[in-house]
């Protein structure tokens, strides 16, 4: 996978989160992983097509998802990851992916994104790539959001 394709996703996260009332997030680290990821509790997958094909997965703990949903809803308490909070996280994933898609367009790549697929639970693993993929751990006010990216140019 081309490392240059990762930046649009990181830039999207860094640009979008402050618009929603968060302090600017920072990149903690980036690692290469093989095939499988374990769910941390809340996993959102968004697919890419056209000149870029692949998936991006936002993986976080239930507590982080509730913190994000609460901040997005002006500090409203989110004691449970309910329908409204799920909707907030799906919407966020959509915004992040659409923003990344815009960044990719500026690199000359025409892309389209699927609807986000939100999955809840801890007892499952996710395979997003036949081989290796990149995982970026983003720090968001002390919470960790893992962005797993497996995308390739489609010739």
């Amino acid at each position: 996978m081309d490392a240059k394709l990762v930046n649009p996703f990181i830039e999207a996260f860094v640009a979008v989160m402050p618009m929603l009332g968060f302090q600017p997030p920072t990149k903690k680290n980036m690692v290469v992983k093989n095939k499988y990821a374990m769910s941390r509790g809340v996993v959102v997958m968004v697919g890419f097509t056209k000149q870029l094909r692949g998936n991006v997965v936002y993986n976080m703990e239930d507590e982080t998802a509730r913190f994000i949903a609460s901040t997005m809803m002006m500090g409203m308490p989110v004691p449970e990851f309910d329908a409204m909070a799920q909707s907030a996280i799906s919407e966020l994933s959509n915004m992040l992916s659409a923003n990344a898609a815009t960044n990719l367009t500026q690199m000359g790549l025409d892309v389209d994104i699927s609807t986000p697929n939100l999955t809840i639970g801890e007892g499952f693993s996710v395979k997003i790539s036949e081989s290796q993929y990149l995982v970026i751990d983003m720090d968001l006010q002390g919470h960790s959001v893992e962005i797993a990216i497996s995308v390739d140019r489609n010739f």
Binding site: T49, N117, T119, I120, G121, G123
Partner: protein, 278 residues
């Protein structure tokens, strides 16, 4: 969902609706219960009484519309005047009926409010969900040589719960959405063994076979849709595979259909969802 503080009124309405194709999913006796039951059931329609013990029907409707701006609410009250209608409309109420309501008036009003949704669902079922069922049937025949029956149902639960394997393939274009091919671990293993014509020891091989099959099912579905509806090209993303138990996938903001292929070693299913709106 019926909102009415009087048990007699709730029962009468429920009895009227029992004669129709509408199903009562919840009954609330006050505004607080209405809000929480609305969140729990996301009903297609709400009938609203004006007099509730903790708030009036207009305030209750306003609270429901705050959760779901697309809520369809019919006010059924003893009084019906211009002032009430004006206030009600600004609170998000779609229609007004006067008590006692005849079954025919009630059905006509409810049907009218549902029409938009019903016709979109019918369109999605015919033009989009059915090609998935046909591709699933043909795919199973091509891959393992078995004739299966398939059925297509509207899926109205909030979650799809999977124990085993779920392969998600995103759909882009118009309409966009996602398709999930899923089955239990045992069904997957038998299916993979029939597909490869050998005993499998390694679970990963079974995953790969299931992924390959999912790609074929969904790829053929989309090709067939694109072949008929030529101005809105749909594309598919590479698969993402989830496996484990109690995997809960939300169906929020999607119109979803469950397509089941029944085999003697278990069901092979596709849950295909299309984004709401156009």
């Amino acid at each position: 969902m019926i909102v009415d503080d009087s048990k007699v009124s709730r029962t009468m309405l429920a009895n009227n609706l029992a004669k129709t194709n509408f199903e009562v999913v919840a009954m609330a006796k006050d505004a607080a219960e209405a809000r929480s039951l609305y969140e729990e059931h996301s009903p297609d329609l709400v009938t609203m009484d004006m007099n509730l013990p903790d708030a009036d029907g207009i305030e209750c409707s306003r609270r429901i519309c705050a959760i779901d701006p697309g809520a369809k609410i019919v006010m059924i009250s003893a009084m019906k005047d211009a002032g009430l209608i004006e206030q009600g409309k600004s609170a998000g109420i779609s229609a007004f009926l006067q008590k006692p309501v005849s079954t025919n008036d009630l059905i006509d009003t409810l049907m009218l409010l549902c029409q938009e949704k019903i016709s979109r669902i019918a369109m999605l079922r015919e033009s989009y969900a059915k090609p998935f069922a046909a591709a699933l049937k043909q795919g199973i025949l091509d891959l393992i040589g078995i004739q299966v029956d398939t059925k297509v149902e509207l899926y109205e639960k909030k979650y799809l719960e999977v124990n085993g394997i779920a392969i998600i393939i995103g759909l882009t274009g118009t309409p966009n959405g996602r398709a999930i091919v899923y089955m239990t671990g045992d069904t997957m293993k038998t299916f993979a063994e029939k597909m490869l014509n050998e005993k499998l020891e390694d679970e990963e091989e079974a995953h790969e076979a299931a992924e390959e099959a999912a790609n074929i099912f969904i790829g053929h579905s989309v090709s067939s849709i694109n072949g008929i509806i030529t101005n809105k090209e749909m594309r598919i993303t590479p698969p993402g595979t989830f496996f484990g138990s109690g995997v809960k996938m939300t169906t929020q903001k999607l119109v979803t259909f469950k397509i089941t292929a029944m085999t003697d070693f278990g069901d092979i299913c596709i849950n295909v969802g299309f984004a709401e709106g156009d």
